[in-house]
């Protein structure tokens, strides 16, 4: 197993060397030679971009749709600390203070997915209520950080769709921020059209794929 892997990596590297196309005197440079493994540095890369804005990302994948059961729900509490800015924004007093969270959201920590119109990134009226519920739940669970994942349907251009997914997720982040949720608790991650929720090539599938999903991080 180990041997075959080494051979495999050697072939890969040899191929990469061939591809590099450094062709000085003659074709002898194209000879496949053994070498070290093709490596990807795991940590501590020195790069031009590394600075205060560099995000340190843990190696393991984030838990998907993790349930949060240990947090006590205190009715009426709208959060505290740095994120308790909801009161300072009377224009966005749309979080219904008296209303109970939906049973599902309270028990399972579900956060509602938000959907978008084609090539659009504004929050639809239909989704305002769900986002308000999400904000309320996040307000009650101050220890929770979430990633907002922005997605696009398969139409359009891949690169553009990745930017569109970013813009959708950023829209949701801003909306929640206006509802008093600290931006520090909201990561944004765009997948563009790479991770469709529904497989299909019609509006039924596309409408399910133009979305922003919440993934709970510890």
């Amino acid at each position: 197993m180990r041997t075959s892997q080494t051979i495999f990596m050697t072939i890969l590297l040899a191929g990469a060397i061939a591809v590099a196309g450094c062709a000085p005197k003659n074709l002898k440079t194209e000879e496949i030679s053994a070498g070290t493994e093709q490596t990807e540095k795991k940590t501590g890369e020195t790069t031009p971009s590394q600075g205060e804005n560099t995000i340190v990302v843990p190696d393991e994948r984030p838990a998907q749709e993790q349930t949060v059961t240990s947090t006590e729900l205190t009715p009426g509490a709208t959060g505290s600390g740095p994120s308790a800015s909801a009161d300072a924004r009377p224009d966005y007093a749309s979080v219904p203070k008296e209303e109970q969270l939906s049973a599902v959201a309270a028990e399972k920590g579900q956060l509602f997915t938000v959907y978008f119109d084609y090539d659009n990134y504004s929050i639809r009226d239909n989704d305002a209520e769900n986002l308000a519920k999400n904000a309320r739940w996040l307000g009650l669970n101050q220890s929770v950080k979430v990633t907002i994942e922005g997605h696009a349907d398969e139409r359009g251009d891949e690169e553009y769709n990745l930017a569109l997914g970013d813009k959708r997720a950023q829209s949701v982040k801003r909306y929640l921020n206006d509802l008093g949720i600290s931006p520090a608790r909201l990561d944004v991650l765009s997948y563009g059209e790479e991770k469709p929720a529904a497989i299909g090539h019609d509006e039924d599938a596309w409408s399910k794929n133009r979305r922003a999903e919440f993934v709970i991080l510890k």
């Binding site: 590297l13 062709a23 000085p24 804005n53 990745l162 813009k167 790479e194």
Partner: protein, 446 residues
């Protein structure tokens, strides 16, 4: 018709004869004028390659190599669109013909050949030596001849170098037969980056991280590539050195680090980063690591394409409502709109001489490849079937490669910039997207 053909042949013979009689006046020797419209194709014969080594003529690999050499020559020369290849059945008996000279030009002319390629090869200790010669049957002269030594594992590659030289000898312009195509495929279960020869052969996988890898681009020297990967969860930009295999992250800002393209001099990268308002175009200075924001608006700005002189970027923006192509000139930094029609305009690519911009335009749910002048005028649709995206120019500007999707499967196609010569590129990998043509590799020293 026949008379006309003979007249042309005679005219060409005369030109070639003059070229040979007056070598001093004939430089640079241009046998074929690439700028001439609808130039006549040279009828060419390729004589089978025989084994010319001392030993090893009966090795099983010999037969295979002989076939591979002729196959590669055929596909290179047909791709050049300069030659018509004469069926081997029409060749004169080559029993008396050596591999390095022509015994009887008259016989080859009778077979219809104006040009003749012949040669031989030998294998010694894993090294393949090929001798190839091109003869002009009209002037009865050898035009070019080279001996190549390379790996026995890739006879095709050795032939590509000859094709490059022959192309340059005949046209004054270097061929692109040693260039490569980079693309993305989900074949391994996730999207990884692959590189194949220009003819689709010898495809190898160059990323292998199990994550999603997108939008590869060549460095101007062809020695490294940049690509977007999710291997550290977020869409960061990485650079992979193809010679050493060294892989480094070069842009890891919060949000997206996408749409990256090298400046022609290789010192900067234009890319899209998440901005406070919207994804914006930025310049990353590779020396300092500093960023300069180029756009500042509430629109999506993406897919920058450099002009050859590095003075301007064509890019996509939805600032006018739907995605359109804009031009940003570094002299005034004011984006100027180029497209006014089409529901979705995407992925501009500037031709190597900066004369035309290729892009993808969608009107009725499907994209097609278009070209236009850099001021937005003279737009022409080149494809009419399938869902065609991501055009990329060959370094000589004589071909475009793009991806075409049909029933959920994508494949790569090559055509000339007038839409003719449409050919599917078979890489053996499957479901290929986001093709990018490499720059010319360094030439072999003569």
């Amino acid at each position: 018709m026949i008379f006309g053909k003979h007249l042309l042949t005679a005219a060409l013979a005369l030109v070639l004869a003059i070229a040979h009689c007056l070598p001093a006046l004939a430089e640079p020797k241009i046998y074929i004028d690439l700028s001439a419209p609808a130039a006549r194709k040279i009828p060419l014969a390729i004589q089978g390659f025989g084994y010319i080594g001392k030993d090893g003529a009966n090795e099983p690999v010999v037969k295979e190599i002989a076939k591979e050499i002729v196959d590669a020559l055929r596909s290179d020369l047909l791709f050049s669109n300069l030659f018509g290849i004469i069926d081997e059945k029409a060749h004169p008996s080559t029993l008396q013909e050596p591999h390095d000279t022509v015994a009887d030009f008259e016989k080859w002319r009778q077979a219809g050949a104006d040009g003749l390629i012949k040669g031989g090869f030998s294998v010694e200790g894993g090294r393949l030596t090929i001798e190839i010669r091109y003869f002009d049957c009209l002037s009865e002269k050898q035009v070019t001849g080279r001996r190549f030594t390379g790996s026995v594992a890739n006879a095709r590659r050795v032939v590509h170098y000859f094709s490059d030289m022959l192309h340059e000898e005949l046209t004054g312009e270097r061929g692109i037969f040693t260039t490569r195509i980079m693309f993305v495929s989900p074949k391994s279960g996730n999207k990884e980056v692959y590189i194949a020869d220009y003819d689709g052969k010898n495809a190898i996988q160059i990323t292998r991280n199990g994550s999603t890898n997108l939008f590869p681009q060549w460095a101007p020297d062809g020695k490294s590539v940049i690509y977007v990967s999710y291997k550290k969860r977020f869409p960061f930009l990485y650079r992979l050195d193809l010679a050493t295999g060294k892989d480094t992250v070069i842009s890891s800002r919060p949000g997206v680090n996408i749409g990256a393209r090298f400046s022609p001099d290789g010192t900067k990268i234009a890319l899209t980063l998440s901005g406070p308002k919207s994804p914006e175009l930025n310049l990353l200075d590779l020396k300092t690591g500093g960023y300069t924001r180029l756009t500042d608006n509430y629109a999506i700005d993406i897919s920058p394409a450099w002009s050859a002189d590095g003075s301007a970027l064509a890019f996509v923006s939805d600032s006018a409502g739907n995605p359109n192509i804009f031009m940003l000139n570094f002299s005034d930094n004011k984006p100027k709109r180029l497209t006014y029609t089409g529901a979705f305009n995407a992925s501009p690519a500037w031709s190597p001489d900066s004369g035309r911009i290729a892009f993808a335009r969608q009107d009725n749910g499907r994209f097609n490849i278009w070209v236009m002048d850099p001021d937005g005028s003279d737009a022409a649709q080149l494809t009419f079937e399938g869902n065609n995206k991501n055009p990329s120019w060959s370094p000589d500007g004589r071909h475009l490669i793009f991806s075409s999707e049909s029933r959920g499967q994508s494949s790569l196609y090559i055509m000339r910039p007038d839409g003719t010569g449409l050919t599917r590129l078979s890489t053996g990998i499957g479901n290929e997207t986001a093709p990018v043509w490499s720059p010319l590799p360094l030439p072999l020293q003569r």
